[in-house]
Every structure is written in structure tokens, then in C-alpha cells.
């Protein structure tokens, strides 16, 4: 069965430092992977996705993610964190091979960037 895990409930980082939010997955077949961000009292916003191609995917707001097939990971990264990046981040994987293309979400990681 497809699943996704975010091992850290919270990540703390100082402004200007690099940040990493971890995600590991388990799928049958080729993985379709996504990162979403949720700001307080808002819906989820799409950041980036990996379907195929380069292992380093660039997305919105300066975020990027590295796909590692051997480690079944899809970690979210940013070279220099901003206080405004503080939010809840969700990793997701496509569930199933049929055309309905449902997503399975991880439990979320809260990112706190301190000034």
C-alpha cells in the first residue's frame, strides 16, 4: 500500500540558515510526489512536484526538493530560510494507478523560522 511519512513534527531553524523538511514514501510503481504548504487558517498551497526527470525539483518561494529513489525520500529544502516560511508543510504521494489519482498525505511538519 502507498504511504508517506514525515518523521519530524516540528523543525526549528534560524532565519538565513538552510532548512530541510524530511519525507519518505512507499509506493508500488513510479512515485508521483508533492509538497504543499499551509499557512494559518488557510487552505493548502502547492509548492512543487516530482513526476519524472531531474532528481532536483524547483518550486515556488525558493523551495526545492530532492528525489532519492534508493532512499525512497523526497526532502524539501531551501538554502536560506525566511521568517515568513513558518508554516505547516505536507508531503503527499499519488495513491493507486487508476485514473482517479488520489493523494495520500503525510501527517505534516511544522516549520518555525526564528528571527
Amino acid at each position: 500500500a502507498q504511504s508517506v511519512a514525515q518523521p519530524e513534527d516540528q523543525v526549528n531553524v534560524a532565519e538565513g540558515n538552510p532548512l530541510t523538511v524530511k519525507c519518505t514514501y512507499s509506493v508500488s510503481g513510479n512515485p508521483y510526489l508533492f509538497w504543499y504548504v499551509q499557512y494559518p487558517n488557510r487552505g493548502l498551497q502547492f509548492l512543487l512536484k516530482y513526476i519524472t526527470g531531474d532528481n532536483l525539483v524547483k518550486g515556488s518561494y525558493g523551495f526545492e526538493a530532492e528525489f532519492n529513489k534508493s532512499q525512497t525520500s523526497f526532502h524539501l529544502k531551501k538554502p536560506s530560510a525566511l521568517v515568513s516560511d513558518s508554516a505547516l508543510y505536507f508531503c503527499a504521494v499519488r495513491a493507486g494507478m487508476d485514473s482517479s489519482y488520489k493523494l495520500i498525505f503525510g501527517s505534516g511538519t511544522r516549520l518555525l523560522v526564528r528571527p
Binding site: 513534527d9 508521483y32 508533492f34 504543499y36 487558517n41 488557510r42 487552505g43 493548502l44 498551497q45 502547492f46 512536484k49 513526476i51 519524472t52 505536507f90 499519488r94 485514473s99 482517479s100 489519482y101 488520489k102 493523494l103 498525505f105 503525510g106 501527517s107 505534516g108
Partner: protein, 116 residues
């Protein structure tokens, strides 16, 4: 474009009451989804629709019903609300899959429901 909108934004119900949450999208998307978000559990899929007139069960469908009579609207119903249905509900939509790929979902702002 307004994107994905949800009505209402907040609601408080008593146990046993019923209500309907409305989701509307103006992007002509084929697929629509209803999720619930609970602390520490991420988003869980309740029901989804792959087109007008179709619905299907997701991960946690019990206690909910849905209808998609029009392509742009996806309704989530609670016939007899229970405290366990206290949650934040999100609607999402996405276009049909591009050739060889998958399009991301677009989310509404959410409905915060409390069942007393």
C-alpha cells in the same frame, strides 16, 4: 477566477443535527475531493468525484454523503452529526491528468466545524 470556494467558513452543530458543506470551483476541473484535517493526522480523504454525476468513497467515508450534480459544485453532507466529526474540512479540485503526468490539486480555504 475565484478558484475553489467553500461555504460556510465556520459552523457549530449539536449532536444529531444535519448540514451541508458547499464547494464550488470555477476552473472547469474534472476531479473534486473532500478531506478532513485533524491534528497530527494530516489530511484524510472522505469522498471524491471524477466527474459530474459521479462520486466515490475515500479513506474515511462513514457518516458523510456527497453529491456532484453540477461539474462546478461538490456537496458534502452530514446527516446526523457526531462529536467525532469535529474537524476542518477542505475541498480540492484538479484538472484531468495531463498526458503521462499528474496535475496538482487546488484547495479551498476550509470549513471549521464543531459538533457539540
Amino acid at each position: 477566477n475565484a478558484g475553489v470556494t467553500q461555504t460556510p467558513k465556520f459552523r457549530v452543530l449539536k449532536t444529531g443535527q444535519s448540514m451541508t458543506l458547499l464547494c464550488a470551483q470555477d476552473m472547469n476541473h474534472e476531479y473534486m475531493y473532500w478531506y478532513r484535517q485533524d491534528p497530527g493526522m494530516g489530511l484524510r480523504l472522505i469522498h471524491y468525484s471524477v466527474g459530474e454525476g459521479t462520486t466515490a468513497k475515500g479513506e474515511v467515508p462513514d457518516g458523510y454523503n456527497v453529491s456532484r450534480l453540477k461539474k462546478q459544485n461538490f456537496l458534502l453532507g452530514l446527516e446526523s452529526a457526531a462529536p467525532s466529526q469535529t474537524s476542518v474540512y477542505f475541498c480540492a479540485s484538479r484538472p484531468s491528468a495531463e498526458a503521462g503526468g499528474y496535475n496538482e490539486q487546488f484547495f479551498g480555504p476550509g470549513t471549521r466545524l464543531t459538533v457539540l
